[in-house]
Subunit: 322 residues, 2 copies
Amino acid sequence: MAEFDLIAAIRARSRHARDDVRLGIGDDAALLQPAPGMQLVACTDTLNAGVHFPAATVPQAIGWKALAVNLSDLAAMGAEPAWALLALSLPQADAAFVEALADGLARLAAQHGVALVGGDTTRGPLGLTVTALGQVPPGQALTRGGACAGDHVLVTGTLGDAAAALVLWQAGAQVLPQTDAQRALRQRLDYPQPRVAAGLALRGLASACIDISDGLLADLEHVCTASGVGAEVELEALPLSADLRASLPLAQARGLALAGGDDYELCFTVAPARLDAAQVALRASGIAARVIGRVVAAPGVRVFDAQGAPCLPTRAGYEHFA
Amino acid sequence: MAEFDLIAAIRARSRHARDDVRLGIGDDAALLQPAPGMQLVACTDTLNAGVHFPAATVPQAIGWKALAVNLSDLAAMGAEPAWALLALSLPQADAAFVEALADGLARLAAQHGVALVGGDTTRGPLGLTVTALGQVPPGQALTRGGACAGDHVLVTGTLGDAAAALVLWQAGAQVLPQTDAQRALRQRLDYPQPRVAAGLALRGLASACIDISDGLLADLEHVCTASGVGAEVELEALPLSADLRASLPLAQARGLALAGGDDYELCFTVAPARLDAAQVALRASGIAARVIGRVVAAPGVRVFDAQGAPCLPTRAGYEHFA
């Protein structure tokens, strides 16, 4: 199968209509009409087989996740997603694989009104690079740099589920999940839900925001560094799903919530005076968030237990070249 | 070396200032301010080691070329380049390699006023995916779809040089080029010059345009398919550089000019009434172009010699999964 048939397979699944797409897949580049006055928000993230997902991952999940991790970055900026481009490297042309991958990507794209407007399909080790483009009114983007001492630290959803799924998967040597809880964790690993609605709800309310891809501690540290502050996290406040509690010992679950990564939840800071408004806006968006700590002046991120004793995380956040 | 140091190495070389970059490398996404009323032009292209460039290519050339092939796509749309994102996969963290790669990319970016505004650095087989973003006034983009029977077919620059360099390199088992001509060909393989100025000059003058990456015949075929026409090319009209003529037999040189690929010249069509204006505009842009054939109603691309006899190309254009 030639490159151009692969593109056709992807194109056929990318029919989400946006009238701001003047020219989509099929020319040298896409032509898009930005909304007047809006700022453009752009990010790109790669998923490589064996590094970012187990080689045995089903192609639907690979396609979904490649877009999801990018929409998660847009969510962390408070941006509304609009368009995406997919660069796909494949060891050989495999129509069924590409169609399934495109199905997964298209399903998430449709949920967020994203049009796949271009890309590249080429030979190489299995890997995907998605570029996502969104829009935000000037001055309303959430960044990593605005956290102030005294702000609350919050996270959306629950942490550690995806990392737990990976632990269980690796322990079980790729045996299919056995329990409903394990299946639910695996769903969170394979089909992360980017918190786009939460990011939109937090415009004008959060002082800083980041998405959790490398683990809470590592990503909160990025916020602290960019903001010139530090943070204290309460171990018992970490939101853990019932599925995670049912599947792993509590200490291991908390370790994964702190440093496991692949959560694609938002970690953000809110001034005390805006906490109620932020919680109301988040509830309206359908995404729950919980206070897990506070911003302090001293640099660094520290974790404390209920007795106020410092805890050391069991391992550092994901380091790509560790 | 951690991922974040790699990003710092790239960031330090990406200081081209554009005041439409509100937030560059270092947050979850870049924040850009499109020019009022302009359309956004977006493309993405991957270069994988061993597929798109020989593994022994110097890193400066890899970085340059990853951006060049994308700026070439923007050129083919008549777009003015503005911003780029780089997703880099590396087998291991190698500071000197990344710095040299970033040097090459930054050098080309500076020539075209492009700001590198974001990216991703991750572990994986060596490969780069660049996304380039440009702008064009509404209605002025060049596409593949406007060629009409009777139009002239033109190409910028000369064809076959890069493919010849690859042939010579492979024949010489990576021995360094011996002659000035061979060195010049190698320069064209490693450091292609995207024809951005030509694309801008052709706004309102070319009826269709494409950049030549997979070989003249394959890419002209794309124009013909998109436009619902065919084309006839005169073998003797193909522009061949003196370096190419000095390095390979004429028949082989012409074969590479027809189907070698990696040229990153523009192939475009112009109505007879606009040919003089197009040539004047191109001369003003500093990029020469030559008429190599004409658009006809019958589908397909055919090549004829000086006697009007049909010629068969020696091989088809580059097929990624052939």
